[in-house]
Symmetry: C2
């Protein structure tokens, strides 16, 4: 957050007091939330409120095939949903109060997978992935539903993969921003190998924060698990945003007198 | 910081994605800096920049008898300077981006003394006093300069005083907001008794944070001392402002889903 500095004269008893007003410019870091397959923006709304309380502008939205557009559930593809995410990003980044150079993307499961791909086509400063899913590159334009029908998917997800072997991992390998990677200890859908593959792929990230929520399942089915995730995410956002703000000031601030 | 929550439809491939935008409302907590006798707003400018980086609007100003109005140095009274501070407060609180219900006043020495008095005539949520000076109630309309000429002042400042015995202490005793009290370990102007008197008087503060800067003199003559103070102040402001933001959200935020 940058500030505007203005000098004023404050009138008192026929005199003028010299004053300086410093105000944050009204452009907030942006946090774009991407829900998982079968989820909705409702899942992140409370977190978005918390992030907004940190001084961020936040956007939650429903991917095609969900909620109002659930009729497309059986036919929507990864390509469609990436188009959705890009459209949401562009709309968000164009908002007057959003600092387009400071956008965090927070994705869950399938939403995390899409978030990594977004980072290859749009500027993403911070990338938060919770239990990110991983899919084979093949069948990019097949309905997303069919991907989970692949009986070999689970086995494939249990293997170590070199970052060059997968589109999402390549996206992570080329990502130079900050990464938060949150895993569920007892994830029944995303094997540990997927997390390890993402972790290894983020070799060039400016910073990497890896956390595991003890005893948690994929969906974070208890309030305790969800609060643990919220705490991790908010702490990380606080660190990232505070760091960005002090960066923005390191040049502007004069020596303490 | 409160947020505005708006629902939007984001167009993509002839479909409409339901989205929710959460933005902080553009009203920042305010931090009003009051310099000490013989000082100027320049002393707090770097701190004000740091505070603005936390998402605050900040005002620094020169009290009458200083800088541009230095010609009044020999004649300006506590009454005049309190009038200055009230005028600066009113100007600041009326600014569009300032949340008049969330104003911190940060005073040094004589400025700390004036800050306590301001709290009796204007809403002050947070009060930060560094090496606050203390003066006898008598001679309220005498030139401020003459007060320091009193040979008994030092001895008087070395005594324990009941809060009812002094105007600034009475102001502290009736203050219900949060207080930061920072002392210099080797203050050659403000005896420990003055700090103890202020500390005891703040009995009804919502919270009290007392810190001593090791080895520091009154003016914080080294950069190390000044950075120690800046760190204490910024940490405290961060805690106060974050607390205020979460308070503002406690009602609004729904249960995590």
């Amino acid at each position: 957050m940058k500030t505007r500095l203005d000098s004023f004269t404050i009138a008192v008893d026929g005199e003028g007091l010299s004053g300086t007003l410093l105000q944050p410019v009204t452009a907030y870091p942006g946090v774009l939330f991407v829900h998982g397959w079968g989820g909705s923006q409702q899942h992140d709304l409370a977190r978005a409120r918390d992030a907004a309380a940190l001084g961020c502008a936040c956007l939650t939205f429903d991917l095609r095939g969900h909620e109002a557009t659930a009729r497309h559930r059986e036919t929507v593809t990864r390509a469609d949903n990436l188009t959705d995410l890009v459209a949401a990003y562009d709309w968000f980044a164009s908002q007057r109060h959003v600092d387009a150079a400071s956008i965090a993307v927070v994705g869950i499961s399938y939403g995390g997978y899409l978030a990594t791909l977004l980072s290859t086509v749009r500027p993403v400063r911070w990338l938060a992935l919770r239990a990110p899913a991983l899919y084979k590159d093949e069948g990019w334009t097949l309905p997303k539903c069919e991907l989970n029908g692949d009986p070999r998917l689970r086995d494939w997800r249990s293997r170590p993969l070199h970052w060059e072997a997968n589109r999402a991992l390549r996206a992570c390998a080329s990502f130079r921003g900050d990464v938060l990677l949150v895993a569920s200890e007892r994830d029944e859908i995303i094997p540990e190998a997927v997390i390890d593959n993402y972790r290894a792929a983020c070799a060039h990230a400016r910073s990497l924060t890896v956390r595991v929520i003890a005893g948690a399942d994929h969906a974070l089915s208890t309030k305790t698990m969800r609060h643990a995730y919220t705490g991790l995410l908010l702490n990380w956002l606080t660190e990232m945003i505070a760091g960005a703000r002090s960066d923005a000031f390191s040049e502007a601030a004069p020596h303490d007198a």
